[in-house]
Chain length 384, copies 2
Amino acid sequence: MKELKKGSLKFVQRYNQTLILRLIRQRSPLSRYELAKLTKLSPTTVGNAVDELLAIGLLRETEGASSGGRKPRLLELNAKGNLVIAVGFMGRQIALCNLQGQILEQQPLVFQSQDGPQMLEELSQQLKSLIDSHQRENILGIGISVPGLVDPSGGLVLLSTYLGWESLPLTPRLEEDLGLPVMVENDGIALALGEKTFREALEKEENFVYIHAGYGIGATVVLGGEIQRGEGLAGEIGHMTIDWQGPQCSCGSRGCLEALIAIPRLLAKYQQSTGKALTFAQFKEKVAGGDEKALEIVDFAGGVLGVGLVNVCNLLNPQLIVVGGELSLLGELLRQKLCQVISLNGLPGTKDVQVQLAGPHSGGELVGAASLVVEKMFALPVMS
Amino acid sequence: MKELKKGSLKFVQRYNQTLILRLIRQRSPLSRYELAKLTKLSPTTVGNAVDELLAIGLLRETEGASSGGRKPRLLELNAKGNLVIAVGFMGRQIALCNLQGQILEQQPLVFQSQDGPQMLEELSQQLKSLIDSHQRENILGIGISVPGLVDPSGGLVLLSTYLGWESLPLTPRLEEDLGLPVMVENDGIALALGEKTFREALEKEENFVYIHAGYGIGATVVLGGEIQRGEGLAGEIGHMTIDWQGPQCSCGSRGCLEALIAIPRLLAKYQQSTGKALTFAQFKEKVAGGDEKALEIVDFAGGVLGVGLVNVCNLLNPQLIVVGGELSLLGELLRQKLCQVISLNGLPGTKDVQVQLAGPHSGGELVGAASLVVEKMFALPVMS
DNA sequence: CTTTGTTTTTCCAATCAGTGAAAAAAGTTT
DNA sequence: AAACTTTTTTCACTGATTGGAAAAACAAAG
């Protein structure tokens, strides 16, 4: 049974306050009067909650135009005074974002030392100088996206071969150094959370799957508006069996998605049929240039990934699939093949799924990292 | 964005009341004193909530033994005074259950008329006589499990080819006739909900997948303690592609789970290799009798279903998989093959999943139907 | 310029759920 | 019978929401 906590009056207050905050994010600017109508809370309650949010500095008040009566005092997010630092270890970038997930400032994350735990010291230094160049009190927190296995609640990086980290208490150390809240997440989850957080303001997509396809293939599953982690390791779509008697995969199974269409496999396939060994960047150019063999391989990749997506759709029936990762750089061609396979092989009900590529507009790692902190601000409280 | 409702004081009260009710279900009998300690609510609050629950008749008070002080007045569920009627259209049975999901009385559901909407009238009659033979005020509601497409919130059966129903307003009609709350669900979901509801009292399994494998193959996904319906049609695991270039399936894809191991396929396979056409019941006996060809086919079915389960585990990483449906009658042999495939082909983290057969102990359709009503009683309220 | 009407915000008394401590009740043990 | 324990009830208090009324601020009409 879920660990259940008692309900209290304080909880109701925090809940309603968050409700108001979310409403303002979604449809700002709003007056107290409008908020009261929308939430069906009493004017008093709205007034008190707003006063508090103003005092904390989360909201900002501006004058509105009268529509024949007293001028409304419009409320909106105080974007300037609420900043978030985003750290992306995949792309080795660091950025300053606002609450809407817009990047205000960006700089590369550079390390003198080799990969390993000692990077932490340098990271801390670089963060410190970024914090000091702005007002510390305007910074809400720091979100970090790390490729690897992460324990977000403890703030640990359990294992990141890419960075040479193992059981590194990232969050506690930085929090002590910097005196600001710090949150870590796996890069895939951060990406999906970024999509969810900053899309939520616009539309309601409670059920979607974010696919990261590149050198490996993973997925992040969001159902009922919640990221689903299962017992901690959900989303390993890369080792889904598509071809029961297909080629052996490193995982022990046969015909896994990854064994068929991870980037190294595609490049190998290209080399097999043409004799040319390419990097992925070169391959991408071939595709853009209309190279026949390359297009064939994109078609193949789309076909296989499409079958994988059909499997996912049949099982979870999401409203949206976002395809990110390097493979998504292959562009519209890939997307169309995916849609084609889905509409051909999907079940009647499940194939109305939208397929989108996570283009540059779609945030990326830094926005995902920022969303770790932003989500907290707008998350409805749970009983405590 | 989720439709958000305001928080109110009344909500807190209802929430805490439910909290107490759930605690009593889980660890009854409990005294008010113990409840206050467990919930960390004040004695006053617990006292008031319990008084109300007693007044409604949901709880019962008994005398406890003193441990050196005043005798505790122990509280437990008032099982006798809170009954639920369960209707299972798959097995055509009707039953009277208590809040723990135990079946107290069971009778076949018989119809004079042919399949079709007119069955409803007869159902209503039979329910009426069952209600009249007990005290109406002791009956909390009626839960109905229907094979087919169901809209539970509207109480409609959208389509059930098996029963010859289409767009039938089942719930509204019965509620009008009988004056009791009625709930419908798809049979697969009801089964899974039954597992969830009556297991919750014992252990916490928030992430599990219920597989119904028989003439068709479906799944019900429970993540974070919530049944996941996606956009309405989740769980169609039967058309998951396992063998990319395998045999054509009726759905348009190739090598679907159903195309490989639905019961008709298994029987056909048996006929192919032995020339004998069997019913499933006969096939089951062959298996029990140790018939070599039959065992081979069970092994095959387990192998294929196992791959499907690995795919599910990799994606969702559940804690438990319950295999129900006719195929589960093949017993331990099948289960062991499934476990074997999972431990061979699963990823390191995801293969600690438990696999259980939904044996007769595991409730079944009627318990699932009953759980529709019971769940409502113990569900934590949401803001309204 | 004043009056009237509208829109928005603030104020106020009332309600109601939860709190914590103390009293009361009901036992057991010495 | 007295002392101690355990459990329940009582009571005065806090604090969040409520709904209505008053006040504030403004536009348009007279």
